[in-house]
């Protein structure tokens, strides 16, 4: 229960769709979604495989609570070896697609091989088939959504797809479902594109059952009360979305600006959550139309925005006048502060394009920021850019590059490489603000020390969603720690990493943990699916998942040398704000972290650690 015990294996080379039983034993050890699908991947894929080779696999996985009435119980993850990083990749998304897959009677889809010609996977309850995608290839996510609904004459189908970015080999292409929810990071869409798999369309009517319905409904109701009564999940997130953070992070001097040259952005107020509520001078309407929930979510942090029709980006282009997915904090930061652009409408337009063509706004914006620095230094010139003047703060450059990158054209092809490959190509690898090829999100680790360790040790390259110590260091959840101190952060990072790996394997949204502890989550899982699920067991499962991911990366060729940060963050002090004069103190935190993890000095899990975790 909680599970259908049914996995769909899709062999794209052979063109077959075959059901098989879920490995119930693994589900007890790895829970679901991130943990369970990663277990399948490490068992079936050589860690050294080229991410874009047919031998790589891409898994779409739900958790045991996906499709239940648990608040936020609609998540799914895309697991593969990442195109951008060459490391284990697991990108999580909301919307309605994950729940629909579960409603159709499937826990997971494993896609392997490569189709000879573009195809899409169509699932109607127990029936699954690969259909030709000739009419879809070359189309955007939004066009694909419209065409599939029309072709099958069914408005209730839910669709997850790649846009042109995933076809054109943009290294950070994402998988986008329900028009504007995305498994955005690490290039999971690039892998999907390499397999000639354009989309997965699902219609499900089978439904989802849980082990002990009465106990589950009680646990879920109690947990919903906690979310409603919490200031962050009950008020801040519904009103401002994650964008509630823009002004906060700027104030604490941890808003990376212009490729991390600065830690505060003078334009932050113009691109903040508050600004999205302000009526525009041009048309008197705010950028924000409404908030929206994903499946089952009682928080509803999603932003739905509308671009000013008179803005230069959309004049006489009514196709961009409709409401669609608006700016979340990470996207607003990357498209804005990282590039020095403070035009809210331009950022919204660039964000629309990221959804429309399926590419990650974090990596895109950060890569544009790196290119702007290289242009500022005279390393990239007009000759390379085709005359585009890549100056920091230019909204026109940002939106033009978003158009070009999404279509794989012109200088957009260079931006599509990601900052690591771009900066290496131009002889300045140190200017890529990334770890293991993946660009930083919106927190400068000089001003929030724990995030430096978070980034350096993240199993999927730089990422805030592997251990969001911002919660503790800035927001005081579950308890306040000093963001400028590195002492004690090793333990904090480990605790967040293990708990997060469990949440990501449950079918729930990580944002619940602003209010929930594992003590709120365990009773819901325990009532929904087989196994005695306690807080301790969830933490142990999270630690097991973390070490399994680490083992995959080590086998792929990563070493302790890769657990580091760009020179800038370790040697160039923050210029302003509360963190003025600080660098990130990673060397002080890392050895303690290895020790707490039960890893040797080379960052390799000891035999004792592995056997304790049953690995």
């Amino acid at each position: 229960m909680g599970w259908h015990n049914k996995v769909l294996r899709v062999n794209l080379t052979a063109g077959t769709c075959t059901p098989e039983p879920l490995n119930a034993e693994w589900a007890q050890q790895y829970l679901g979604q991130r943990g369970l699908a990663t277990k399948y991947l490490v068992e079936e894929v050589d860690p050294k495989v080229d991410p874009l080779a047919p031998e790589n696999k891409i898994i779409f996985a739900t958790g045991p609570l996906t499709g239940t009435a648990a608040s936020t119980g609609g998540r799914y993850s895309v697991i593969t070896k990442g195109a951008l990083t060459g490391a284990i990749a697991c990108s999580n998304s909301g919307g309605y697609f994950g729940a629909e897959l579960k409603m159709a009677g499937w826990d997971m889809i494993i896609c392997e091989g490569r189709a000879a010609k573009p195809v899409y996977l169509f699932i109607e309850d127990g029936r699954a088939e690969l259909l030709p995608a000739d009419g879809l290839w070359g189309k955007s996510v939004w066009e694909v959504d419209e065409i599939i609904h029309r072709t099958h004459q069914d408005p209730l189908i839910r669709i997850s797809a790649i846009g042109r970015a995933g076809e054109e080999g943009v290294m950070y292409a994402g998988v986008v479902n329900d028009l504007h929810r995305a498994a955005g990071r690490s290039g999971v869409g690039t892998v999907m594109g390499s397999k000639n798999l354009k989309a997965i369309a699902v219609r499900g009517t089978a439904g989802v059952r849980v082990k002990d319905p009465a106990r589950f409904m009680q646990a879920a109701a109690a947990a919903k009360e906690v979310l409603a009564g919490n200031a962050v999940t009950g008020q801040g997130l519904p009103k401002y979305g994650t964008q509630v953070l823009m002004n906060v992070i700027n104030e604490v001097g941890a808003l990376p600006t212009r490729n991390h040259r600065d830690v505060q952005f003078e334009g932050a107020g113009h691109i903040s959550g508050e600004a999205m509520h302000e009526p525009r001078p041009s048309d008197g309407k705010p950028n924000l139309v409404t908030n929206q929930a994903c499946f089952g979510c009682t928080i509803a942090c999603g932003r739905i925005s509308r671009i000013d029709q008179k803005h230069y980006t959309v004049v006489n282009r009514p196709e961009y006048w409709s409401a669609s997915g608006g700016l979340e904090y990470e996207a607003a930061w990357a498209l804005g502060a990282a590039t020095g652009v403070d035009d809210l409408e331009a950022l919204t337009y660039a964000n629309f394009l990221c959804n429309e063509q399926g590419f990650d706004p974090i990596s895109f914006g950060a890569t544009v920021g790196a290119a702007m620095e290289l242009y500022d230094m005279g390393v990239i010139t007009d000759a390379e850019t085709g005359g585009l003047r890549l100056v920091f703060g230019s909204a026109e450059v940002l939106t033009t590059l978003a158009e070009l990158t999404g279509r794989g054209e012109g200088f957009g092809r260079e931006i599509g490489l990601g900052s690591k490959r771009l900066c290496e190509k131009y002889g300045h690898p140190e200017l890529s603000m990334s770890v293991n090829g993946q660009e930083f999100p919106a927190y400068d680790s000089r001003g929030i020390q724990g995030m430096g360790l978070t980034y350096a040790t993240s199993n999927r390259g730089a990422c805030h969603l592997r251990s969001y110590t911002v919660s503790s260091e800035i927001l005081g959840i579950p308890e306040k720690t000093d963001p400028l101190a590195s002492e004690g952060k090793a333990g904090l990072v480990k605790a967040f990493q293990d708990a997060t790996a469990a949440v990501d394997s449950s079918g729930l949204c990580l944002f619940t943990t602003f209010a929930w502890t594992l003590g709120d989550i365990a009773p819901q899982l325990d009532a929904a699916c087989e196994g005695e699920w306690s807080v301790d067991r969830l933490l142990e499962t999270g630690e097991r998942i973390w070490n399994m991911e680490r083992q995959f990366n080590l086998a792929a060729g990563f070493t302790a040398k890769d657990d580091t940060l760009p020179k800038r963050l370790l040697t160039e002090p923050a210029k302003t704000g509360p963190a003025k004069g600080k660098v990130n103190e990673l060397p002080k935190m890392l050895p303690e972290y290895y020790q707490l993890r039960g890893w040797d000095a080379e960052g390799v899990p000891t035999g004792e650690t592995l056997s304790r975790l049953g690995l």
Binding site: G67, T68, A69, S71, Y96, M103, L156, L179, G204, T205, A206, G207, V208, R209, V210, P213, M217, K224, A228, P238, V289, T290, N291, Q292, A293, C294, F295, G296, C297, T298, A300, I304, R306, S322, A323, S324
Partner: protein, 161 residues
């Protein structure tokens, strides 16, 4: 006193908790495909709208049914389908002007909202009070009250704003 489901689309976030609660209450399964209430997402406008049976006083479905399988529950005012009588002819689905009676392939019967016998699960599950269960004669109460609160907020004649 009869109560009505009162829907305020402006408050709906599209979370579908109402659909889950409905299918669980009536079918014992989480399954929007078996829900008697449905949330429509007009995504181009950023509008989510829950919609279900309004329990017409002169119900088209009830009058159209050839086997008298749709009956009035006088305690709640709900028009309820009697599964033991329903023959799945679907005439009621044609008669209903609003589309809120629907056939179920799985059972060969029709389903519609029955107000859960007077304690509708959708209203209890809605996290934003977009769906409430209120005095049937006063579904306009909150809206009247909101406008009423503005009538004496205007500046009196002769005083500056």
């Amino acid at each position: 006193m009869l109560r009505s489901l009162h829907i305020e689309p402006r408050k709906c976030t599209g979370c579908l908790q109402c659909e889950m609660a409905c299918s669980y209450e009536n079918e014992g399964v989480f399954n929007p495909a078996r829900s008697r209430i449905k949330v429509f997402n007009f995504h181009e406008e950023g509008r989510m709208v829950p919609y279900t049976c309004t329990q017409c006083a002169e119900a088209w479905c009830l009058h159209a049914c050839p086997v008298e399988a749709i009956v009035v529950n006088h305690a709640t005012g709900a028009k309820e389908v009697l599964d033991s009588r329903c023959v799945g002819c679907k005439v009621c689905t044609i008669a209903c002007p609003f589309g809120t009676v629907n056939y179920q392939q799985a059972t060969g019967k029709v389903i519609k909202c029955d107000l859960c016998g007077g304690d509708p699960a959708c209203a209890k599950a809605c996290p934003t009070q977009a769906i409430t269960y209120v005095d049937a004669d006063w579904t306009g109460y909150d809206r009247m009250r909101a406008w009423a609160s503005r009538t004496d907020a205007q500046p009196a004649a002769g005083t500056p704003a």
